[in-house]
């Protein structure tokens, strides 16, 4: 792009920032809403194409709605599914802000979860206000350690974080398999790789079990809210957050301004890994109660989508995590009552991401909903 062009774009950007108007409203509200509706409609077409009857499709959509927000227990399921996605998504978003593409959340979730489980079953008679924070902290620390290996390699040798995090994921799968079979971790009397149960004093307490013992929502959601606020504060209210964003936007300028790029990379990866590790701890201490092979269930990869959907902003990530959690909870209900495979949800999620990321496409297809604007 020529210099003049760049300057024009910059002034347009500044104008936009000075006067948030119709375009912002369209980008932030209309595009996402249309994207979700279009994706769900296309999901219906996919069902139709695979021979699901029209009546069953209707049932499926009703179940998708009632299973996610239709009742208190549905909301409880939504929140339970949203919590780890949001936590890991926050970590990935932080990486994006600093210009790092961390594919390693899956491995960080696994390693963090394993550490939390080990601390969780190792102590018998500790009070919950010591044991639970210890287990959570172990999860966060282990995740942070695992991620900062990639950060350190990037800073010290320039090894690309995409490769190193992919490799660390693969290593973590094997490591977890090994740990689950080692006598220290494996549940006595079991031949399959499964860990001992977390003692009660390390479990995240369920919040609504006094209403109905089946309500799974647990204190993890408090951690999520705190983490969202903390990441927002870190990114936008502290010097180090400014340095994160500066080195993401323009690494050269950041370096010439005296920021230490190596330290920033390691710290960003460390914090991101701590958040992913917390997501793993959240799962094992709040939902599963123990660890089994692949207990993360692809959550670290879904979290990449959550971070992208939330535009790498903490509040956006929270909303995206809630949306994905709702789709997952509703999808399970859909599978039960309409016999439609849960995998349909993955299709809808992917379509939502595509449509939200392609505002030009949405504007072209639904031109009636948008103000006319000059071609960019």
């Amino acid at each position: 792009m020529s210099e003049e062009n760049g300057r024009a774009a910059l002034s347009a950007e500044l104008m936009k920032r000075a006067a948030p108007g119709r375009t912002d409203f369209e980008d932030l509200v209309i595009v996402p809403v249309l994207a979700v509706i279009t994706a769900i409609v296309l999901g219906g077409l996919v069902m139709l194409a695979t021979g699901v009857s029209v009546g069953a499709i209707g049932t499926a959509f009703v179940a998708l709605f009632t299973g996610s927000v239709g009742s208190i227990s549905a909301i409880s399921e939504t929140l339970t599914a949203a919590a780890p996605l949001t936590l890991a998504g926050l970590g990935i978003a932080l990486g994006f802000r600093a210009g790092l593409f961390n594919i390693g959340a899956e491995g960080q979730v696994l390693i963090g979860g394993m550490a939390a489980v080990i601390v969780g079953f190792s102590f018998e008679s500790l009070p919950i206000y010591i044991h639970l924070p210890m287990a959570l902290l172990a999860g966060a620390a282990a995740g942070a350690f695992w991620a900062s290996i990639a950060g350190w390699l990037r800073a010290a040798t320039g090894a690309h974080e995409v490769i190193t995090t992919i490799m660390l994921n693969l290593i973590s799968f094997r490591l977890v398999d090994y740990l689950l079979r080692s006598p220290f971790v494996q549940k006595p009397g079991r031949a399959d790789p499964i860990s001992k149960n977390v003692t009660e004093s390390a479990q995240l307490p369920q919040l609504l079990s006094w209403l109905d013992p089946n309500m799974r929502v647990h204190a993890g959601i408090v951690i999520v809210v705190l983490a969202v606020i903390l990441v927002y504060w870190l990114l936008f209210r502290t010097t180090i957050g400014f340095e994160f964003r500066a080195s993401g936007l323009n690494p050269d300028a950041a370096r010439f301004a005296g920021m230490k790029s190596g330290v920033i990379i390691v710290v960003v990866m460390g914090v991101a890994g701590a958040l992913a590790g917390l997501a793993g701890a959240n799962q094992v201490l709040g939902v599963l109660g123990r660890a089994s092979p692949g207990f993360s269930g692809g959550l670290g990869f879904d979290a990449i989508a959550v971070a992208l959907l939330g535009r790498s902003h903490p509040f956006g990530v929270l909303l995206a995590g809630l949306l994905f959690g709702a789709l997952q909870a509703g999808g399970r209900q859909m599978q039960v009552s309409a016999g439609v495979s849960l995998d349909l949800i993955a299709i809808i999620q992917a379509l939502i991401i595509i449509f939200i990321a392609a505002p030009i496409l949405m504007r072209a297809v639904f031109s009636f909903a948008f103000q006319k604007q000059a071609r960019r």
């Binding site: 792009m1 020529s2 062009n5 996919v46 695979t50 021979g51 699901v52 210009g99 593409f101 594919i103 390699l153 990037r154 800073a155 010290a156 040798t157 320039g158 090894a159 690309h160 995409v162 490769i163 190193t164 992919i166 490799m167 660390l168 994921n169 693969l170 290593i171 094997r174 490591l175 398999d177 090994y178 080195s247 690494p251 050269d252 370096r255 790029s261 190596g262 990869f301 990449i304 989508a305 992208l308 439609v340 495979s341 995998d343 349909l344 949800i345 993955a346 299709i347 809808i348 999620q349 992917a350 379509l351 991401i353 595509i354 990321a357 392609a358 030009i360 496409l361």
Partner: protein, 422 residues
């Protein structure tokens, strides 16, 4: 990949980073030297014999017999020499090469240690290496084709999976050849989708790639559980048998490894050769690379940037679709959910590892394929090391190599950036 240059500006700083890298690899080599001596040399006695021929081959060559302990001492001495060399003047130039050779020697020492007093089919392992490298090499090649025109392709995994699924379903109804063609076409279709998203609709390239991966995973798993579980005959494709090349397949060692393989192995080797020729020896290849390095300049010279991006990304998708068919038509004939299992991401790593060059990607894929088959065959030898750690070793080695060897590799300059024509 939107890579930001890590080494601070100026040759002095780069020199400093290289020197540090050299020192790190020096210490690593010295550590490995001691490790090989202590673990692989001291405790073993006896010979390791490697079978080089199958019984009944046209030319039977004798087994390669290596005395295990003396070999390990030789390797240890060589590693010590390489390590010390890293601390002497002028080391930076040879640092990467020596580290690569060093790791290769460690692997051979490990093999002789594991095989001591036993015998082991080297030919079988090398044959499996090539087979297992195929999908990774094709994935890496797809990545090279896309990234040379500055389109980051995270969607390789999804394209492989789409190829595997289409190969199984169409192959079950129309036969293997039909399935293969369909897999290539569907791969191309997803390439076209990626190109449309990133070129025409200017979606962030990584977002588009992640979304396509999720979409393909969702679609294939959904159809497989909703439809294929009820119609099993749709998921039972014929498998391509291996074709023996006349005369060449009778050669000892090389014959079974290179010339008794199926159409996917030959296809992958041919595609790597064609892609190298296309990218580096033709006018359109030069234009494609220009688009990847400096799209503005290419545009000024009258090259249609958008068209070339569409073309190359679609081609990349077709290559990945072919590679995906390997999973079903080339090995088991039936599709399972998420059966590519991250192989596309390893292909991505192979591409970066191979410095954005088709041959480099193939070489890197061979390293991964070797590790894969090594781990499978070692189960037979019953080493005292837990299987999980053996399975980790190739990934650890990759990290070491990436940190030591190609920290300085450079992606195409415009990689990952959209081009907006004025």
């Amino acid at each position: 990949m939107a890579v930001t240059e890590v080494s601070p500006g100026g040759t002095k700083a780069i020199g400093y980073a290289r020197r540090r890298q050299t020192l790190i690899s020096g210490w690593l080599l010295l550590f490995l030297s001691v490790f090989v001596a202590v673990v692989f040399a001291v405790p073993v006695t006896g010979d390791a014999s490697f079978r080089l021929a199958y019984p009944g081959d046209a030319f039977v060559i004798p087994n390669l017999v290596v005395p295990a302990a003396p070999y390990a001492y030789v390797v240890s001495a060589l590693l010590a020499f390489f390590g010390i060399r890293q601390f002497l003047p002028g080391a930076a130039r040879w640092s990467g090469l020596l580290l690569g050779i060093g790791l290769f020697l460690v692997v051979t020492a490990f093999l002789t240690w594991a095989t001591a007093d036993k015998s082991f089919s080297l030919t079988g392992m090398l044959q499996a290496t090539i087979v297992r490298a195929v999908p990774i090499a094709l994935g890496g090649l797809a990545g090279v084709l896309c990234e040379r025109v500055a389109v980051v392709n995270i969607a390789i995994e999804g394209m492989l999976l789409a190829g595997a699924f289409t190969g199984a379903v169409v192959g079950s109804t129309l036969g293997g050849a039909g399935g293969l063609v369909a897999a290539v076409l569907v791969g191309g279709l997803f390439g076209l989708l990626l190109a449309a998203l990133v070129v025409t609709y200017r979606v962030d390239q990584i977002i588009a790639g992640v979304a396509i991966n999720l979409l393909v995973l969702g679609l294939t798993s959904y159809v497989s559980s909703q439809v294929l579980t009820h119609y099993r005959e749709l998921n039972n494709a014929p498998v391509f048998r291996s074709i023996n090349i006349p005369f060449l397949s009778d050669l000892p060692l090389i014959g079974p490894v290179l010339f008794q393989q199926n159409i996917f192995v030959y296809g992958a080797l041919i595609m790597v050769a064609v892609a190298t020729y296309y990218l580096f020896h033709t006018r359109s290849g030069l234009r494609a690379r220009a688009v990847g390095e400096h799209p503005e300049a290419a545009d000024t010279l009258g090259i249609d940037v958008y068209r070339l991006r569409y073309l190359n990304v679609t081609l990349g998708g077709m290559v990945a679709g072919f590679g995906g068919a390997w999973f079903t038509l080339g090995s088991v004939g039936r599709f399972d959910d998420n059966m590519t299992n991250g192989r596309g991401f390893i292909g991505l790593a192979a591409m970066i590892f191979g410095r954005w060059h088709p041959v480099g990607a193939l070489m890197a894929a061979l390293v991964f394929g070797f590790a894969d088959s090594l781990q499978q065959k070692l189960a037979i030898l019953r080493t005292p090391i837990p299987a999980e750690f053996l399975a980790m070793a190739p990934y650890i080695a990759t990290i070491v190599l990436v940190a030591g060897l190609i920290g300085r590799a450079r992606p195409p300059a415009a990689d990952g950036k959209p081009y907006i024509k004025d």
